[in-house]
Symmetry: C2
Subunit: 636 residues, 2 copies
Amino acid sequence: MLDSTRRPVVVDTSKSPHARLRPLPLTDVRLSDGFWGPRRRANREETLPSQYRHLEETGRLDNFRKASGKMEGRFEGIYFNDSDVYKWLEAAAWSLATDPDPELTKMVDAAITEIEDAQEPDGYLNTYFTFERADKRWTNFDLHEMYCAGHLFQAAVAHFQATGSTRLLGVATRFADHICDTFGPEEEGKRRAVDGHEEVEMALVELFRVTGDRRYLEQAEFFVDARGRGLLGRPYGLHDPSYSQDHSPLREQDEVVGHAVRALYLYSGATDVYAETGEPELLKALRRLWNNMTTRRMYVSGGLGSRHEGEAFGEDFELPNGRAYTETCAAIGSVMWNWRMLVLEGDARYADLIEHTLYNAVLPGFSLDGGHYFYENPLEDEGTHRRQPWFGCACCPPNVARMLASIPGYFYSASDDAVWVHLYAEGSAEVRLNGGRAFRLGQRTNYPWEGDVEIQLDGEGEFAVMLRVPSWCEGGASIEVNGEPFPEQASPGAYAEVRRVWRPGDAVRLRLPMPVRRVEAHPYAAENVGRVALMRGPILFCVEGADNPGLDPRDLVLPNEVRLSEDFQPEQLGGVVVLAGEAEVSPPGEGWDGRLYRTATRQGEKPIGTTRLRAVPYLAWANREPGPMRVWIRSR
Amino acid sequence: MLDSTRRPVVVDTSKSPHARLRPLPLTDVRLSDGFWGPRRRANREETLPSQYRHLEETGRLDNFRKASGKMEGRFEGIYFNDSDVYKWLEAAAWSLATDPDPELTKMVDAAITEIEDAQEPDGYLNTYFTFERADKRWTNFDLHEMYCAGHLFQAAVAHFQATGSTRLLGVATRFADHICDTFGPEEEGKRRAVDGHEEVEMALVELFRVTGDRRYLEQAEFFVDARGRGLLGRPYGLHDPSYSQDHSPLREQDEVVGHAVRALYLYSGATDVYAETGEPELLKALRRLWNNMTTRRMYVSGGLGSRHEGEAFGEDFELPNGRAYTETCAAIGSVMWNWRMLVLEGDARYADLIEHTLYNAVLPGFSLDGGHYFYENPLEDEGTHRRQPWFGCACCPPNVARMLASIPGYFYSASDDAVWVHLYAEGSAEVRLNGGRAFRLGQRTNYPWEGDVEIQLDGEGEFAVMLRVPSWCEGGASIEVNGEPFPEQASPGAYAEVRRVWRPGDAVRLRLPMPVRRVEAHPYAAENVGRVALMRGPILFCVEGADNPGLDPRDLVLPNEVRLSEDFQPEQLGGVVVLAGEAEVSPPGEGWDGRLYRTATRQGEKPIGTTRLRAVPYLAWANREPGPMRVWIRSR
């Protein structure tokens, strides 16, 4: 029984008993701003078509043609390459929902045809396990069969919601049925197994929500519960079971460990399960993990994953800047998880982190031209790390594409008698509250470069507008309704509830002061001792060689008393605020020539002069000529 | 034509045209001190017998029995496991040279029999490439065939020198001949290839020196020259060619990169080649690499290898403390390379680093009980990193054993009319200079815990005693001969030349003041900003939980004005100097509760009290109950 409403929403909690917030369809949200607008245009015009070409040119689509017998030859590439096709399809589906495009529709339909034709009669579908490997299906759970299935399911849900077509959804449910028939409790005559790379869990819950088939939810729950019981053994030989979060049952875990993307996808799926089941122990574990992650194991960018080795979270406070792994996919996984936590109760902490992560950890992975990507996102670099048009392991590019295509779905939520404004950008939304009250909500703002937001409401009756006051807005926000101060407390890191009887033409003005903030890290984060990161509003800044020619950013010292200017520069990097101010240049003294260690002189380094420091948003770094870059700069 | 002198020496530069220093046989050096003595006893009594048991119990010796057909079954373990047997044999041979032991001789002879019997008729020998893999020989140069061969050659040289037996040497030369017949220039009808893991280069030079067969030297030169020309391709899929130093010809390299042990073994082999050929470009490259390593990529312990990923050197100043890889084998490789550089011209920089590395990077890998080892040697730890009795990849344990067994060979050298004293410890040596002058040299000292050394000379005639004044002895040393000040400049980091006409009973007194030094790191080494490491003489100290119960060493702040007491404690950790003094306890303030980043307050942390800080030598850490450990402590 398919959900007849069929509206494209990011995570459909419309009927989830343990979620307070309901999604707004992407199609009801318009972004007409100068920040997301150009990025979403690049996503449509450059990213999606060029990624389709990469899928063709690297043989990823051919693998489906070979599997169906339309083309000669063997599988080519990495065993999880099918997932890139699915993620691209999901991205394309979201894009078609908001921006119909006949050319893109053709590509989507062609890809779906190849997928349909490659599916086995029993529902199984994975082009790596064809021909000589056909009998190796479900024998090695580190080969991402369920991971690929999960991405197929997510793509299918998005495609159905966006287009109404059940073609891909049919493929997905046939495969999901195969998985449900194959895996489960032994007492049901099934196999107990979990996948090395989580993903299928949240996908199954989404499939449940769109089909109404409770079996998929139960299967997701089974996979969440079965993990951490030794089923995977020691994945990949070198890796510990914690690599796949398989070291203990999720409900007993209290530290985020192992491969960061896997972890975040697991937490996302488990949160989806909680939204349906409401089991308190599960939520407790998720909150413990979130607290450990955000207070011990997260970069100032919101980036996650400190180690190249195992693409893993590190120990508490293990946050190297140059060797930060901080995979773009992990940032996306964090947005996905935080969104699911947010809609449970509407706790602004999660929305704060979504905003912060989008600007400072997801977007750095994406070039301004829309065709180049970072896999790793270090917080400092000597100028050698550059975005690539594609990767052999190409998880990040289509992940960025689906995030950008679906971003309107993250701006608002509805609850019984409130509309929730999570993110700010010029644009509008059609809001429908319970009981059928519908109205138009407009945002006029220059966010994220200015902190004034005017919310125009074209509705009638009593309801609340929940305005997120970001945690960075430490001095507090001010709110006016129709020019009069509104008494509601607008404390940072919470939603200000503006509840009243509304009349058409009412307007709320939210003022979020955006002073430049010098941010310091916990003293146990060893690399950042004596350093600050610059933030302004939600935006993290960095010092980049292109703006500071001939200067080693390691030698910059920003005195506390220096006031930084803040200028919006429309010609710079697609239009960004640039910070500038007088800084000291304090290179290592001559006593360090040819030495790495010495008896402490306690003299410190002495400034040899000053320079005009310029800092640009970290999200836009590496879009100009290569040069050194640093987020954390010395201060005094 | 075997060298008839057959005296066990660490690296036999007796006839090397481009080496100034000649080795003293191990058998002519006695260590009767309280530092090396007990460690060498543990090596003989616990390490060597227990390692032999491990070789048996893990099937490493059985692999030879299987290869020769004496035992049923297939190869077991990792493909380079043969090398552990060879390294153990080398260690045992050195030990037998100075300390005959019938039980150990039996084990050695038994192991050699298995090796002899497993050798193929054509000289090839590698038990991994037997049975079904026999036809895979020399097809994948990342499978360590030449690496294993090199360790066989080194063991054979040591065994021949120590015992006069040519049994193992015969095996080695047959295999070396096979390698020389197989690999070389195409124009000689041979295959161009290099091994993924360097080692065979230095082993071939050693084989040349003991046999006089110049072909082995030429083969070593060929392997050094052939590297960096794309022969290896992209080793291990994930790794870059720099992993095996194969990214460019050695003579063009100027940064130490890739797998640290491989790199150090390559540099050692290339230095051996230089000692014979004297090619200036090769020495220039080696000096460039040494400078890069010691001024940019070395831990304060002398440890090398910053990355777990690829067991690799990092970028300049990439020196994380908790995630330091600093493999014990890399420290040993550094001693081996520095020894080879030292004997070229007698530059004290290399001897300084040998001393420093032995105390602070090799010995931490070895437990006081002689039966447990570190593979990785982090400079800080939360109490979870503990020495193990053995490893699946067991390169480090027998490497430590051969270093300890051969350590007397690193104490002295001879040149035409000088004896060189590189290291200090109570003991004696029989010295033979060119022209046959022979005399006994005694050392009376409590080194490394006290800096007074009395050198007693029982010789006659004019010659020089070259006394290393360590670079840590920054205030300069004082020298007396027979109680009278000797005018020779004794500046730190150089050899003081005490040249005169000696009479029996003469004595030289060297005074090396050992104040506690607070060492700071180059300001680009980000984790060490605001911190110092404590050193006294050649010994690096650390703060360990066992001495500072209930204290988080991250919260310690050592004020500059605090004078640390220095007490030798004979009952502690086998007898060590312990440093102690009043330090501040300055934990993160309450403002950090539940936060990882915040707007900078510029207040810093405030001390909440003081505590008696105690610091013990890093070389002895983790020999008591587990607890946190730090080398770098905060200072103000």
